[in-house]
Structure formats: C-alpha cells, structure tokens
Symmetry: C2
Subunit: 257 residues, 2 copies
Amino acid sequence: MHSLRFTLETSSHGVVECDFTLGEVTGVLWSPTSGSEHAPLVLMGHGGGLHKKTPELLARARHYVTTHGFTVAAIDAPGHGDRPRTVEDEQVRADLKQAMAAGETQRVESITVRYGTALAQRAVPEWQATLDALQQLPEIGTEAPIGYGGGITLGTGIGIPLTAIEPRITAAIFGGGFVVHEALIEAARRITVPVQFLLPWDDEHVDRQSALALFDAFSSKEKTLHANPGDHRNIRWYGLDNGFLARHLGRVDTSPA
Amino acid sequence: MHSLRFTLETSSHGVVECDFTLGEVTGVLWSPTSGSEHAPLVLMGHGGGLHKKTPELLARARHYVTTHGFTVAAIDAPGHGDRPRTVEDEQVRADLKQAMAAGETQRVESITVRYGTALAQRAVPEWQATLDALQQLPEIGTEAPIGYGGGITLGTGIGIPLTAIEPRITAAIFGGGFVVHEALIEAARRITVPVQFLLPWDDEHVDRQSALALFDAFSSKEKTLHANPGDHRNIRWYGLDNGFLARHLGRVDTSPA
C-alpha cells in the first residue's frame, strides 16, 4: 500500500491547498484554514481530457470549503493532468481527435465508451485507495461524512461505478454529458443514496433519452433531476439546489467561536 | 365589463385573505397585512377537480406572502370550487369517474384533453379580466410585476395558453401531470419568459415523454426542469429553487422600516 505524500502546500483566501501523490496517483486536498476537524469530505471528478484543477473545479472546491466548511479532494484520472500518459492513452486521444475532426459520431461514441469504461475501471480502485489514505489523516478520520461532488461527463462515468460499490459515499452529484452504456445503467441501479443529477438539456454529444434513462435507473428514494438549456461545454446552471451536499453530509459551523 | 366585488375579508398570521367575485368568477386575493404597495402579483392555478383554496394552494400562497411579500390571486376554474357546474361539467365528471373506475386509460385521456382544452378556453379570458380588475386596485396598479405561480395538472393546462398570450406575465411555474396535446405544445413554443417546470417523475396518468416534450417546447432562454420521484398525487418536492419567482419578479423588503 502506497502512502500519501504531500508535495506542496499553499494557502489563499481562507483555503489551504495541498497537492499530494499516492503511488502514481496525483491529487489535491482543499480545506478551510481552520476548523476542518472531521468536516464532510467531498470527492470531485473532472471531465474527460481535463484535470483536477480546472478553473471550474477550483471554483466549486473553493465554494464548498468557504461556504460549507467542507474538505474537498480531487485526483487526476489515469492519463490525465499531472499523470503520465501510456501509449494507449496517446493513441486513444489521437483517434478521438481524428474521429471528431472527421465528424464520425459513431466512432467518437464507441471510442468514448470503450476508453471511458477502461478509465473508470482504473480510477475506481484509485479513488478507494485515496479514501483509505485520506481517512488516515487525523483531521479527516473515519467520522467525516463523504459525498461525491461530481462533475458531469467523465466525472460521472467514474463516480457512478465508484458510488455503486463504495458504502462510504452517502450522497452524490452526477450529471449528463457522458455516453451512457449498459454497465453504467447497471451501476446506477445499485445506487441508493440521495442523488442530484444535472442534465445539460441540449448536449449534442449525448443522446438525451439515454441520460434520462440513467437518471431513471438510480434506485435512490431521493433523487432530483435538474436540467437547464445548453450543452455540456456551454451551460449556465441556475436555480440549482446548492445546499444538496450540506443537507446530506451536514454543514460545518464556520462562524468564529 | 364586470367589476371586482370583495365579499369577505379575514386576516391571520400576517396574511389578509379577501374573497372576491368578478361576474361569475369566484376568486381570492392574499396580501401581507402591511407593505403590499405594488408588490409582485402571483397568479395561482389549481388542479383538475379541485379549487382555489386547497390546503396545498393555501400553504404556497401563505409562503409567497409571508416570505417574499407578494400579493397572490387564485380563481376557481369554470365548474370548479364555488362556481356552478353546467350540465356538461356534471356529465364530464361522471364520464371521467366511470372511465377511471373501468380502467379505460385511453378514454380518460381523451376526455381529459377535450374537457381540459375547453376549460382553458373559458379560463384564459377570465384570468385576463381578473388581471384587468386587479390592476385597477391602487395597491396593485400596473407597476406590480406579474408571475404565474402554477400548480401542475390543470393549473398548467390553463397557465400555458394564458402565459403564451398575456405579455403582463413575466415569469411562470408550470409542471407535468396534465395530458399534453398539440395545442399545448404550440402555446409552449410561444412562451419566452423564464420558466420553472416541475415534473413528477413517476406519474402513471401522464406519459413522461410528452411532459419532456412540453418542457422542450418552451422558447424561453431561461428554463429549468426539476424532477423528483413520485406521481402527481404523491410527490414530495425537495431541492427546489424556491427563489425562482422572487428572482424574476423582485422581492419586497418586508423588514420593519
């Protein structure tokens, strides 16, 4: 078992950012400058081709830390961000780029499903090992409630199988923008924790019906579908239930004692 | 033109309730005990077979008045609540009851569409006349922003054609639970104001796809679909954007001066 190695710590505007490695996994942990003892821990996924510190992900992580007092963790998916790419990773990216340029929708879809499924198979145990390691930290421990903070696209493709087999995750945010395949539907059926599902209503890359079928598949007694116009690159979310994770994980009182 | 006649005024817990008639239309106006001058006006629809003062409608009206300082108006649909039923109204109710008891889904649907469309045709001009009359009241006037506060089922069947032709309505809440017909889709296409659309995910009376097609039809740049598990009689809404109307109509400062 690899152990967590913190490589860099910075702090700004009330948020401490700690980069870490766990074996070959590169990750980052954000926490409040004070009072993060056993605070809820939110796991954030990033989109396909992106990484753990995109501006959008950073903004949401900061919001969770400063508004709710959460601790937030993100890791790079295999072949993404600060992690080396294998020959296969490079090949898939090249194939995908070519298929997209040629407008070969079917081929884009088949590559995405195959590669996305392979990435999820590698990423799920990495998230579990990361969770194990984070729970060794005294400020997190095993008492901190854990939620999956989502991200649509790849973040959902990894988050759904992770949440399906990981009982430590007790609430999750998923979304559309990922090609839905049968294994994903199967994993969704095994999920019973509260789910918030974000659907870009006009995603040209993903069939709307299959995203609706994915929402339908969750066995959760409490699940909310939230759709706004836009595709997964150009969407402005509004009217969103921003208190979802705080309601299910608990809110940390960040007011000065 | 008929004029508004107030018939009864009661007041409790910060809300004044005034029953009124406008010709044969029976209605009710709720307003804050103080500070309602030109406050946003919210029009509320009720469900099929119900009336303007169901417990659910009352609760939402009270919430709008006490939380946002809105004025709220509701009228009984033709043949509903305090209004006399025509021979046709009685006949339709009997037919519908019989078709439901016999489990004749197709017949229930065809009666609902036919009767619902006829009700909407009568109710839309009634709402417009009610609006004209309410705007004559000095405390409302023509400055008060106007929203449609919805209600699913019949409240949507009437609210969509109303909002489509009524430029005074600048934001609207609609929902599923009403059989979607082509005229309703056409009316939805003419709507451009912000829309919040509430969908009971498991409604056994209404095809989910047709409700999704209705949401899809709104031309509004800003529209939100919100779905929770349950049918239209047994649904618990959560994670809902309760600030939707306040954001679009403006919020009244109800704090003491």
